[in-house]
Subunit: 341 residues, 3 copies
Amino acid sequence: MPLSLSQLAESTGAELCGDGACEIGRAADVIQAGPGDIAFVYTAKYSQYLTTTRASALVVSRALAEQCMLPCLIADDPRLVFAKVVALLNPTARPPAGIADTAVVNPNAKIDASAYLDSGVVIKAGAIISAGVYIGANSVIGENVTIGMNTYINTNVSITRNCVIGDDCTLHSGVVVGADGFGFVKDGNSYFKVPQIGSVLIGNRVEIGACTSIDRGALGDTKIGDGVKIDNQIQIGHNVEIGHDTVISACTCIAGTVKIGANCLIGGAVGIRDNIEIVDNTIVTGRTFVSNSITTAGVYSSSTLMDTNINWRRNASRFKELDSLAKRLKILEKKIDDKLK
Amino acid sequence: MPLSLSQLAESTGAELCGDGACEIGRAADVIQAGPGDIAFVYTAKYSQYLTTTRASALVVSRALAEQCMLPCLIADDPRLVFAKVVALLNPTARPPAGIADTAVVNPNAKIDASAYLDSGVVIKAGAIISAGVYIGANSVIGENVTIGMNTYINTNVSITRNCVIGDDCTLHSGVVVGADGFGFVKDGNSYFKVPQIGSVLIGNRVEIGACTSIDRGALGDTKIGDGVKIDNQIQIGHNVEIGHDTVISACTCIAGTVKIGANCLIGGAVGIRDNIEIVDNTIVTGRTFVSNSITTAGVYSSSTLMDTNINWRRNASRFKELDSLAKRLKILEKKIDDKLK
Amino acid sequence: MPLSLSQLAESTGAELCGDGACEIGRAADVIQAGPGDIAFVYTAKYSQYLTTTRASALVVSRALAEQCMLPCLIADDPRLVFAKVVALLNPTARPPAGIADTAVVNPNAKIDASAYLDSGVVIKAGAIISAGVYIGANSVIGENVTIGMNTYINTNVSITRNCVIGDDCTLHSGVVVGADGFGFVKDGNSYFKVPQIGSVLIGNRVEIGACTSIDRGALGDTKIGDGVKIDNQIQIGHNVEIGHDTVISACTCIAGTVKIGANCLIGGAVGIRDNIEIVDNTIVTGRTFVSNSITTAGVYSSSTLMDTNINWRRNASRFKELDSLAKRLKILEKKIDDKLK
């Protein structure tokens, strides 16, 4: 169902410019857009499209508004306005409440009447499934797990005993919450498993990407704050604590008992060693190895930069001489200083 | 069922040498092989086995053919011939067409009569399952997904709404295709989710390894070209495009809106940052961090080389002095040049 | 059910000190512990808690025993004793034997009467499920797979044809064992798949973390030794062999045909390239890239250390000059030596 540009302006709080009656059916990229579409131009780099796009309307930054001849929404934060426009044009429709025939619900679980459990879903004893929850096909909810209101759990998700998921969360397919943390103690020639008796406590408005795993705590709990956004293929070890509204990109590996503050941005493929702390508002760039605690907010990095293989070989082999090079340089400096005296 | 060496020669196009009636039942490693087995020797390094192997026949490179006293298949590309021999000796048998009792198929899905849906499979409305498709137990195919002819989907796979999988693809267990891309815009103190309304379009003859996730596009689609081979535990972000016949090894992390050309070889555990492009025929070695676009085909690397921990500590700590070392060296060079004048 | 401290002493072999009748119901962290809890203090760093904890009893190292006024268990290896205490206080209760209504068991599979198969479990023809095995909901056990005694398989696990899992193993949710190894041979402009006809053989007492994948062998088998502990999100390629009691932390990527010895410790996010060997008793620290074989036991590392982004940029850009810096330093040394002669 199309919406008028003035409806979109009103719902997003953006400033309307031009024909508010203009009907918008779809959000699209400014290059691919056609009649009936709304697209966006945020930066001068794309300003050429202000005049060449076939879109019916645009979301534009205030700086570009004057150059825009199409009906448009002018916004101080055009990315946010456009995201809201996309959401308005693509309302997510959940199926009506109900329990699919092949779902298996333990009689001692408590399922709100407004929840939806798809085919093959398994709910164990003591679980609480709150109002408006959606659980996708073949997902398994363990004993005494609580799922908060309106949380959306996609297909083939596993949540193990006692874990708590807050309200308005989204768990994508293949997510595992509450597997045992990785703890073993040497016992003679082999290992004795440290029982992982803690749980996982996940706040509200948390998003967890496909194939991500969050381990349960050993003694205490693993804790994910409100509004945390976790991408795909991420490992979160036992007893990790993550502050509210921190964002973590794909393939990041967080070892046990790491404490990450609130409002952090952790890039993709980052490694964070065990038992360290990262303060609020920290940014860690992609591929960094966080080898010690970060006590001052800022931007942190490691990794090396790409080169042609032939150059890289030459330089990488010199890495093993770094300490020796530094020492030789110092000796040379001294020799010359002595000589020049 | 054993095949004669001459049958194998004919089917693979290799040159037969020796007793074509020799019956071959199994492909094996040259060291473990016994009577009835065929093994291979490609390189001089293994030429000793030409005479000591207990195999009944060998696939050999042309260069080694003269030294081979056993019945053999001589090939310019012995790896390819041997792979074909293994395939001939191990035909994959799919179960007869049908839908298992506990599969749940929406009446508005279209299932070809020659497809096989195993137990616990869930097929949503509007899905199209083409001729010869195999879908393994407990896999879930979302609304309006299309699965092309003869595609093999193993167990516990999730494919989300609207995605398109081509013909003759193989998806291993635990694969997730079409989870939401990772897009959020700051909205006051928290984040607003950018709706991910694009899809995933996968070509023909694509292989996707276990536990790999491929996100749907934000506005446009994520696109995987024909013949692309993707290993396990790989992350492919939203709106990534991968050209035909590119091969990507395990644990590689590809951020959003990356464009990889055709015929590339991307090593294992590579990280590729968002919004960059890699031209056709590029080779990226394992563990490289691709921090900027690659505009010329070639071999590219980063990473550092392993050392004993004690040496590594010394050298790694000097990394933080690199810039200073370089500057001090320059000063020293100048001092000496001045002095020597 | 609480246990007395003397019962705990007896079962763990620790030395009892103080009131053995003291009833212990729960294991807890020394800071959070309260009445009825047992906690631990292993190191002098935490010795302040010996007097301030509200726990009823403590596990302490021998060195700290004298300072402990509470009833306690004194141990030479307090970590091991405490782990055993936690296990005693948290016995794992498995459900009674049986097969859930929605499990689908092929008539040609052999299921021990003492095994438990949860809802949605699928067992294929020829599979052998031994005594005391637990298989979690929606897991799929392929043709001719053998699962050893008392092995615990959590939810949504996939085990593919012919694989063998030993006794007393634990496989966490989302694990995939036996997907095809990643092998392709160039065939003209595209790739021919090398059939992966080997299997995966897993020993006894192996633990496999959530979302980890272990590929089947190409010709021979992938082999995981007794007592090996494998964390989450790990990739183990085809024909890898891992010796007994080796421990591998999360997100590590092991390429094909790697041979890792016994009693090794492999850190998190390590990358190990294909076709190399690592001897017994080797330690590889987190994030290392193992680019060649390790022939002498020891501790090995690579990676670079984190810095502020601004410093890192300066130094990382100099990495590309390393070889040139080294050469320039050598020239300078010679010049000065000549001069000083």
